[in-house]
Amino acid sequence: MEPEASRDEATGDDVADLARRIQAGDAAAESELVARFSRGLLLMLRRLVQNPALADDLHQETLALVLGKIRRGEVREPEKLNGFIRSTARNLFIADRRKEARYRALDEDSEEGGHPAPALTDRGPAPLERVLAVEEARQVQRLLAELRYDRDRQLLLRFYLSDESKEVLCADLEIEPERFHQVLFRARERLRELWERAEKRQRFFAGAQKIVGRIGGDPSRSK
């Protein structure tokens, strides 16, 4: 974990060196690039695409395309590798959208010709994700209720759920505009602390439950 933590703030020289090593045929450097950019890239794509399955596909395609271009020396500014990866992912997404639009148009044409419409892909969240979302909502509800200051609650709710501007929020919640970021940061930190404490509790109880289950549970289950 230590090397990953030290990569938090990568410099242009750092990524340029990585690109040069990949171009030189260093397989370890390729693995390093994948390990280093994978999580952020997937996060960005999931936000962009709003479809986990498509985001996973684009994630793989992006990494493959980027690695190929680096190997072939097609990345002109290796020190701006982050920007290159980002724009590659976005371009792939745009291309996918265009492709889908073309297919849709073809489908509509064929539908007019009397062919049956293809089954629509379910782009909604998977059942597990739905359950997790419900649990997450409960957690948020509990933690918001635990917040000591009502202003923190109101600020977080309105900031995350409404599109109200900073000026409106400041006026409504009597926050000095220059202190808005500080107030939001503190509210967020308080909630984060509560969240971490709640997660620790959950881990503790989950661990305790495992131990109790092992002691008192059905012996056949331990086989």
């Binding site: 990569r7 952020g40 957690q139 599109d163």
Partner: protein, 258 residues
């Protein structure tokens, strides 16, 4: 981009809520692509936003009329606020419902007919026992009070040494419970103490008293309560108790109680 300014400016939160200008959002995306801590910041903000949206969605479903006068996203925030504001009351309601349920359960358990009937039976039995005990105590108290009174017309059975086949002495037991006295004359003996043993005709010992001493008239007086004696034939064995050594038989006194 440095983490201090990202935190201070709530960049991840502005990014997740779509408040970051496009250029700044692009710069932040380029940054977090290979920044684990900023990935965590974005994920935390997303998680909170998802939770709040879900919460607001549920609250909006519960109170659909509340959102009509607001813009949709503001309405969601209001609904979420409502949900959070109602939360303590909801918890209290849950607690009250739980307590009510427990109480009902307890009533069912303790108030079941069988159990109640059994308890009532036990209670009645206890009351009866108590009443009987109280009656006994009252009777005993009366007896004790009577015993403390001067005793008159005390039945006395005189037992003197009998030789040969003289008939047994007899005494009629008093109609009411009371004391009777056995006047025993050991004859020409002089032991410091005597022991008297009364047995019924089956040979069962009814009582035995030791350390009896002769009175001034050369006799031993033993008082027995009539309730400890039933009509029938008895025998009183008297032994002399020397200072040392085994008891010495002094005489046998047959008697009959009617």
């Amino acid at each position: 981009m440095d983490h201090q300014s990202i935190d201070a400016g709530n960049i991840a939160e502005h990014y997740v809520t779509g408040r970051l200008p496009p250029e700044e959002a692009a710069r932040f995306e380029e940054h977090y692509l290979d920044c684990l801590s900023c990935c965590a910041r974005v994920e935390a903000a997303e998680r909170l936003q998802r939770g709040l949206r879900r919460l607001a969605g549920e609250a909006a479903v519960r109170a659909p009329g509340a959102s009509r006068s607001f813009r949709p996203r503001l309405a969601l925030a209001a609904a979420a606020l409502l949900a959070v504001a109602l939360l303590p009351a909801w918890f209290e309601l849950q607690e009250v419902q739980r307590l009510r349920s427990d109480l009902a359960q307890t009533r069912v358990e303790k108030g079941s007919t069988d159990r109640l009937a059994a308890l009532q039976g036990e209670l009645q039995q206890t009351r009866r026992d108590l009443a009987a005990e109280a009656a006994k105590r009252e009777a005993l108290a009366r007896e004790m009070a009577a015993d403390r009174q001067p005793q008159t017309d005390l039945p006395i059975l005189s037992l003197t040494p009998v030789r040969g086949g003289a008939p047994a002495r007899s005494l009629e037991l008093p109609a009411k419970p009371g004391w009777i006295a056995l006047w025993v004359e050991p004859g020409d003996t002089d032991f410091p103490f005597y022991r008297a043993t009364l047995s019924n005709e089956k040979g069962t010992v009814v009582f035995q008293v030791s350390r009896l001493a002769l009175n001034d008239l050369g006799a031993l007086l033993v008082t027995v309560h009539s309730t400890s004696l039933a009509p029938g034939k008895y025998r009183l064995d008297l032994d002399g108790l020397p200072g040392t050594g085994a008891p010495v038989p002094v005489g046998r006194f047959p008697l009959r109680l009617d």
